[in-house]
Amino acid sequence: MANEIQESIARRAAKELNGPCVVNLGIGIPTLVAKYIDDEQVYFHTENGLLGVTDVDEENKDPNLVNAGKLPVGETIGASFFNSAESFGMIRGGHVDVAILGVLQMDQSGKIANWAVPGKNIMGVGGAMDLLVGAKKVIVTTTHTAKDGSSKLLKECTFPITSTRSVDMIITELAVFEVKEKKLELVELMPGATLDEVKEKTEAEFSIRLKEGAL
C-alpha cells in the first residue's frame, strides 16, 4: 500500500503533466501519478501494449488487462492495443513525451541506476533502458533515501547505470531537482522540508535556484 510520502511525490509529479502528451509510468510511485491527473489529453502508455490506460474498479478487473507492473488497469475510450515490438518502437522512436521512473540510485550528473544490484537477485531491466533513450522527458520519482537511511542521490552510482542519458527532473518527498547540463539544481522544497534537511540527506553536489513561489 502506498503511504503518504509516496502519495506526496506522485501528486507533485502529476503537476508536470499537461496535455496533450503521451506518458509512460514505471512501477511503484510512478504508477500512483495517474490518479492525480484530470486532463483527458494526458494519454498513458504502458509498454506491455496499451495506449489509453485508466484505473479499474474491483468488479471490472480483467486478468488479461494489466500495466507494466502487472497490476489490473482499465482502457479509455479511444484506447489501442499493440504488440511488444511496436510498443518499444513507440518508445525508442521518440513518440512518448514523458517517462516517469523509479530508481535505486542517481548520480550528480542525473544518470540513474534502477535495473541491477550486484550479487542480489535483482536482474530486471524491463523497459527502463529503452525509455531512457527514447522518451523526450524523463522524470524520476523516488524517496530521497534508501531503507537504510543512506542518500539515493550520490556523487556516483555504485550500482550499474541504466543509461548514459541524464534524466530531466528528480522529485522526492523533500525536494525537486532539475538537471541542467548534467548538473543538479535544487528548484523547489517540498512542503515541510528544509534546505538543511535536503543538504544533510543528499550526497550529490547540487546548486540552489529556488523558484519564485516554490515555498
Binding site: G49, L65, K70, R92, M123
Partner: protein
C-alpha cells in the same frame, strides 16, 4: 491438412532436448499455460527459453524451471521470479538479460529475415559489453543480433481453422512477434471458429505463420490459473 491439435502432447511433437523455444506472455498474462504444462510433462531438457520473464514462482515457466529443464533463459525481467536468481546463483542456469525493446525487436527481426540491427538502447551500460558499437548521424548505437527459435509457443484469443489469429487486450504482448520467428509455431487459443468468422481487418497474425492450434485448458483468471476441459 488440419492445424487443429487434439492435446498438449501432440502439440509439442516437434520439441526436442536442447531446443530453443520462444514462449509468449508478459509474466502469466498472455502466456500459453496449457502448452507450458505439456512442456513440463514432456521428457526433454537443456532447453533455451526465450520469454520476457521465466514465469512467476511456481507458476507458468516457473514450474519448468523447478523441473530443471531450462539450460538458459533469455529475457528482460527475471526479478519477478525469485527462483530464477537463486538458480542462477547456484550455477544451474545461464541467463541473458536484454532490454525489453531489444528482446522484442530482435525477435521481430528474426521473423522478418533481418540478421541484426543497431539500437541506442543500452549504449554505455553493462548490457552493451562485447557488442559492436558504431556511430550513426553523430549518435552511438550498438549492434544486436536477430533471434529465432526452433519452436514458438504462443497464446491468442481466437483462431480460425486456417490459423488466423486475433488477440485479447494486453495478453497480446510478445505473441504476434514470436509467431513470426520460429520454425514451428503452436498457438493456444480460447476459441476456434470457421474461416470467414474473423474479419480480415481484425486478423493480427495471418495463418501462414501458424503451424498448429490447440484449445486452451489452463486459463488465467482473477483467482489464478484454473484448469478446465
Amino acid at each position: 491438412m488440419t492445424k487443429l491439435l487434439p492435446d498438449g502432447t501432440s502439440a509439442l511433437e516437434a520439441v526436442k532436448t536442447g531446443d530453443t523455444i520462444m514462449v509468449g506472455g508478459f509474466g502469466l498474462i498472455g502466456a500459453p499455460l496449457t502448452l507450458i504444462d505439456a512442456l513440463t510433462n514432456k521428457d526433454v531438457k537443456d532447453l533455451t527459453i526465450i520469454s520476457n520473464n521465466l514465469g512467476e514462482k511456481g507458476k507458468g515457466l516457473g514450474i519448468l524451471l523447478g523441473e530443471k529443464k531450462i539450460k538458459k533463459g533469455i529475457g528482460s525481467y527475471f526479478t519477478s521470479n525469485r527462483d530464477v536468481g537463486d538458480a542462477y546463483q547456484r550455477g544451474e542456469i545461464e541467463l541473458e538479460l536484454l532490454p525489453q525493446g531489444t528482446l522484442s525487436e530482435s525477435i521481430r527481426a528474426g521473423g522478418a529475415g533481418i540478421g541484426g540491427y543497431y539500437t541506442k538502447t543500452g549504449v554505455g551500460t553493462e548490457l552493451a559489453k562485447n557488442k559492436e558499437e558504431r556511430e550513426i548521424n553523430g549518435e552511438r548505437y550498438i549492434f544486436e543480433q536477430a533471434i529465432r527459435a526452433n519452436v514458438a509457443l504462443i497464446r491468442a484469443w481466437k483462431a480460425d481453422t486456417l490459423g488466423n489469429l486475433v488477440y485479447y487486450k494486453t495478453a497480446r504482448n510478445f505473441n504476434p512477434v514470436m509467431a513470426t520467428a520460429a520454425d514451428v509455431v503452436i498457438a493456444e487459443v480460447d476459441e476456434i471458429v470457421e474461416p470467414g468468422e474473423l474479419s480480415p481487418e481484425e486478423i493480427v497474425t495471418p495463418h501462414l505463420f501458424v503451424d498448429g492450434i490447440l484449445l486452451a485448458s489452463k486459463i488465467l483468471t482473477n483467482e489464478g490459473v484454473v484448469s478446465h476441459g
